[in-house]
């Protein structure tokens, strides 16, 4: 691996981490679309900032462009507050307008600005290592690395300082307000940080990848955990994984790095969506199937418990009595046998002691919903996993 390759991966990974942190809160606040709006509408801010500073990596330019991002959020909220359109419509109204203003500004001043629309959308990650920062003649690394590194440090510091405030205001803005943590202040703080991150990442990875890096890793993490800290950790992991694997895919296919990273993020999300252990599509389908069988099993055990007469408990009659399909009654019988809950003697089914106890306990549980007494049942049955 050459030095440049390493640096590209490092920059992409830092961008991924810096995006995953605000992205997690945007996803939780159902504000994924806002990141799209910010990433496109900072363009005019960038152009104006560039006229003033003449330097694409100047901190002032980053702040100016970030301000455009916050203004976009405010505009969207204003339009939405009129009650005439919904939030997504408001976003759809604002950001194409802002983006086109930026594009026109670039086109009009094409000679002065080394920005083109392709670069805006897809970034120039491949060239990032060539734009270097030197202090007193010594090369201290690519500029983008420093820019995104500083932004990342700020993001992490803010996250650690305001983690509980972010959490409570996202979860319950009413409580947050009544505890003295103004949701408005936290909201605009988050918007400002997202805008700054977007601007910082923009030059390296472009608008599309910024959005992908903010939303996709957080969306994956959301499907995998019920703990906010773990969700942040997982989002960071998926972001970095997408960045590095995307880089190598681009390398092998000789394709755009930003495009490949975005594609990898899409692939990862698809896989997580399918295979996530409890919220994934397959798990949900499997669980529903298990639950159907277990409910049938319970119905069947109850039937046995309630009927002492032999003809009600004859294998052949069970189908008609509880009205099941053949296949299903076989599954249920097998499950009951496997768990030693029933005995079959001369085709007469009867409950074992264990089966009898299980049935009473299960009924108790269903009626009282007492969680504590069924700990050991939980191991065997999805039905009781809450």
């Amino acid at each position: 691996m050459s030095n440049a390759q390493l640096e590209i991966q490092l920059i992409a990974s830092l961008v991924a981490v810096a995006c995953a942190i605000p992205g997690t809160f945007l996803v939780l606040r159902k504000m994924a679309m806002i990141s799209d709006a910010i990433s496109h509408s900072i363009l005019p801010g960038l152009v104006v900032g560039f006229f003033i500073t003449q330097d694409l990596n100047s901190p002032l330019l980053i702040l100016l462009a970030a301000l455009t991002g916050v203004i976009t959020v405010i505009l969207v909220e204003r339009i939405q507050k009129t009650g005439l359109v919904k939030e997504d419509t408001a976003i759809g109204l604002v950001f194409p307008a802002m983006f086109s203003i930026g594009v026109i500004m670039i086109a009009k001043n094409a000679n002065d600005i080394h920005l083109d629309v392709d670069a805006v959308l897809l970034g120039e990650l491949a060239f990032a290592p060539f734009d270097r920062l030197t202090i007193g003649g010594t090369d201290i690394g690519p500029k983008s690395l420093w820019v995104i590194g500083i932004i990342l440090l700020a993001t992490v510091a803010l996250l650690i300082a305001f983690f509980k405030e972010l959490k409570v205001s996202t979860f319950d803005p009413g409580l947050s307000a009544s505890l003295g943590f103004s949701p408005v202040v936290i909201h605009y703080g988050l918007m400002t940080m997202s805008s700054i991150t977007t601007v910082g990442a923009f030059d390296a990875v472009g608008a599309i990848l910024v959005v992908a890096l903010m939303i996709a890793p957080a969306a994956c993490a959301y499907l995998l955990t019920t703990d906010l800290k773990k969700m942040l950790g997982l989002a960071i992991f998926f972001g970095v994984f997408g960045a590095i694997s995307g880089y190598w895919v681009a390398h092998w296919l000789d394709a755009s790095i930003a495009g490949s990273i975005a594609t990898m993020l899409g692939v990862v999300f698809f896989l997580v969506y399918l295979f996530a252990p409890s919220k994934g599509l397959i798990a949900v389908m499997y669980r529903e199937k298990r639950q159907r069988i277990e409910v049938s099993l319970l119905t069947f055990l109850l039937h046995l418990k309630n009927h002492s007469e032999e003809e009600e408990r004859h294998v052949n009659h069970l189908n008609e009595h509880i009205n099941w399909q053949k296949v299903k009654s076989k599954t249920v019988l097998d499950l009951a046998l496997k768990n030693n809950m029933i005995l079959i003697n001369n085709k007469i089914v009867s409950l074992t002691k264990k089966g009898d106890e299980f049935t009473s306990q299960a009924i108790d549980y269903i009626i009282t919903n007492e969680d504590t007494q069924i700990e050991d049942m939980k191991k065997h049955f999805f039905l009781f996993r809450g």
């Binding site: 979860f171 009544s178 003295g180 943590f181």
Partner: protein, 270 residues
Amino acid sequence: MKSMDNIKNTNSKDETTASISANEAGAVVMAVKVDDLTVAYNYKPVLWDIDLEIPEGVLMAIVGPNGAGKSTLIKAILGILKPIAGSVSIYGKPYHKQRSHVAYVPQKGSVDWDFPTVALDVVMMGTYGSLGWIKRPGVKEKKAALEALEKVGMLPFKNRQISQLSGGQQQRIFLARALVQDASIYFMDEPFQGVDATTEIAIINILKELRKAGKTVVVVHHDLQTVPEYFDWVTFLNVKKIATGPVKDIFNDDNLTKTYGINYKVSVQK
């Protein structure tokens, strides 16, 4: 603000009797004072010119039909909504100076149920107010949260994601969260909504305990039958304030009719 230290608590009588605390001079201490409050959504007023005084140490019901503005009144008192006119004071000072003395249990559905958080964590959030900005909750906060969960009988569910709890269980979690706030005034928006009879009794007992400890409890309540049994004060509200006072004095068919518009006959036991 610790006005509870220098007052004589006269609360030792019958549960249903009004028990208001008074200071040394004999004057009643007002926990909450609302003056000429008007609140509007999109310039349409839903609360008109409300004057309301809530004495310290009462267990008060706010009753009124759907859309009467009960939730709105509580939100305005808590500064969640900005009134277009009027003012609110908590123990004589504006709300934002008295935050740590006020706890609030919102009407169901105002939180993000799919948020990645478990019951214990939600209850811990009640301690955030006393921690202030930046400081993180520690062992002490966790202990308080566990105790509150125990009190509402939800300890076995402490590690459940909150959307996986039943409606009544969720309600108890929010009650526990208010309890750890260790406030002087509690506002609860329909804490009995969708809970079973056992839970309802458990909750009302906790509320009565709070009152015994000298706290002021204000509850939005829909079941008129139980008002005399549960509460000692009542406020009738329907866009305007109809009446407020001790249950034994003002909980009568006349006020009920004024509030609900139709002829009400609730027998009020003496």
